[in-house]
Symmetry: C2
Subunit: 323 residues, 2 copies
């Protein structure tokens, strides 16, 4: 008898990562392949190949969860906006389900990462979670009472565009001034650092320079922490969450980042809101996307006995009814 598992697929702009994941969030049969060019049909085809490979190794999957790097409607499985993969308006869940013969659901990648930290990582069991992901830009996801909060049209959790310094630095993504992303996204920080004639391959180098006491790097990292703290304080005043999880490579920097973030939150949020609020690094690293996509499949198809069947006839209605 094959083990009870789903497959989580994390579709990014450059790579597709995937793995078989059991109910406890244990991953196996990991795969990583380049994201094909040529639109969403090519991507879905590649996803289906990866799913077949993983099933050959790990056994038949109960369902497929797909993380997709755009705003989307998770109930219908449809992409809403897309300037990366050309998938706007496409029902990715349906396409993946048809191509794999398995029930499938999709979730925005940042939301999937938040769900993963809630189900299996740093925020396990918390009643309310806000995740900030510090990458090229700054993404985010919100989990309330165990469910991702999507908002009116799948765009909730855009914490990278909270204004932390109105009239301040210009955001490379949205063009507005003073977004958190302009102070805490790697693209913005590295551009600023390099404009000053400094060398850095990535954020790691800027953090290392700050540890050495290099003045510009110290200023950049402390400004980054300060601005993250301001945004977290706003999020805390608005949502009063149990835990704020900060992910992305730079979140591994430790106290040089987290100490001033926590200090700024304590200073800027209302006392009853900041008291008891945990602000912690993410635990799942690069695997958060895959695990969160799998978590989405577990939440949606984990209790349905019929989801093991895979005849084409009822696949669509199963998707339509499982909101």
């Amino acid at each position: 008898m094959s083990p009870d598992l789903v497959i989580g697929v994390d579709v990014g702009g450059t790579a597709i990562k995937a793995a078989a994941v059991d109910r406890d969030g244990r991953a196996s049969a990991r795969r990583e392949v380049p994201t094909p060019q040529g639109g969403s049909a090519a991507v879905v085809e590649r996803v289906a190949e990866v799913v077949r490979e993983i099933e050959a190794e790990a056994g038949r999957a109960r369902a497929i969860g797909v993380g997709w790097p755009t705003p989307l409607d998770p109930v219908r499985g449809v992409v809403l906006f897309d300037n990366k993969l050309g998938s706007a308006g496409v029902n990715i869940a349906d396409l993946v389900s048809r191509a794999t013969g398995r029930p499938a659901c999709i979730e925005n990648d940042a939301n999937a990462a938040a769900l993963a930290e809630y189900l299996y990582g740093a925020a396990r069991g918390a009643g309310s979670v806000v995740l900030l992901t510090l990458g090229t830009g700054v993404g985010g996801g919100i989990v309330l009472n165990g469910d991702v909060w999507h908002g009116r049209d799948g765009a909730a959790g855009e914490v990278g565009h909270v204004k932390v310094h109105p009239g301040g630095r210009k955001c490379l993504f949205c063009g507005r001034r003073g977004c958190l992303e302009a102070y805490a996204g790697a693209q913005a920080i590295l551009a600023r650092y390099r404009r000053a004639g400094k060398k850095a391959e990535g954020m790691k180098d800027v953090v290392a320079a700050a540890r050495r006491g290099e003045p510009l790097a110290v200023r950049i990292v402390s400004e980054m922490a300060e601005m993250i703290g301001m945004a977290v304080a706003d999020l805390a005043n608005i949502l009063n969450p149990e835990i704020v999880v900060i992910g992305g490579g730079v979140a591994r920097a430790g106290n040089i980042l987290f100490r001033p973030i926590r200090a700024a939150v304590a200073r800027e949020a209302l006392p009853n809101v900041s008291k008891g609020l945990r602000v912690v690094p993410a635990r799942l690293g690069n695997e958060a996307g895959t695990l969160g996509a799998a978590g989405c499949a577990w939440k949606r198809y984990g209790t349905s006995a019929s989801s093991r069947t895979s005849t084409t006839g009822n696949r669509r209605s199963r998707i339509a009814s499982s909101s």
Copy 2:
């Protein structure tokens, strides 16, 4: 046979307002009395007197909903923080239930107003609502999927303390700089206006002066709208709500306030978030608190047949089990 109704009670720092409210949000037998000094026991006693008066006029109530001007735990019915009525740690729901012989629940006053606009007012039927209340200070409430979002310990929705101008004006309530309340709360605005030697009884006079083109009033009202717009943009980027409702007396000012607020939101929020977002004035005025408290009672006790009985024996267990 008596009509099917609950009683909504809005306890404020200076007045207690109450009314019988039917399932459709129609109020009758309205009462308003001063809030007694002498702690929460005196307040509860006055609430019970008002309830008896209303029942004598309108008929027996199924349950009592109480709006309370502090952060609280609505599930347990307990007040968490209180610098107004001295009720911290007190189980107000239980006290009101004992004093009236009816099942009772409590809700924070700003949350109650948000619930009222969702159930009976400007946000009727919306999937996600953020209410900003412009009063002496700036309060707020969030309704997601039909339920008030309370956060970890009942403090969610503190939109008055979202930072709209870090390092800016000092907030009279929390002492931090740049809170929305420092730019949009009547206390802060009137203090600033009067310091400049101008006369105003209330915000109405400042708005009237702005309409006449009086330069300081124009500057104050346009800054107020700008800052509200910034805060709404942050809220929209974070929560992607369907509707933002702005209440409080000054929200009746109309386009002089709403046109620049909407312009600031369109400019500052991400395009997919601001597009389709409704930003509208509240509809229920001063009655929002009473109606929201009643709405809380309807949501909690509206379907339970046993809530019509009122023997002391099972009252407490009913409260404890109805979370």
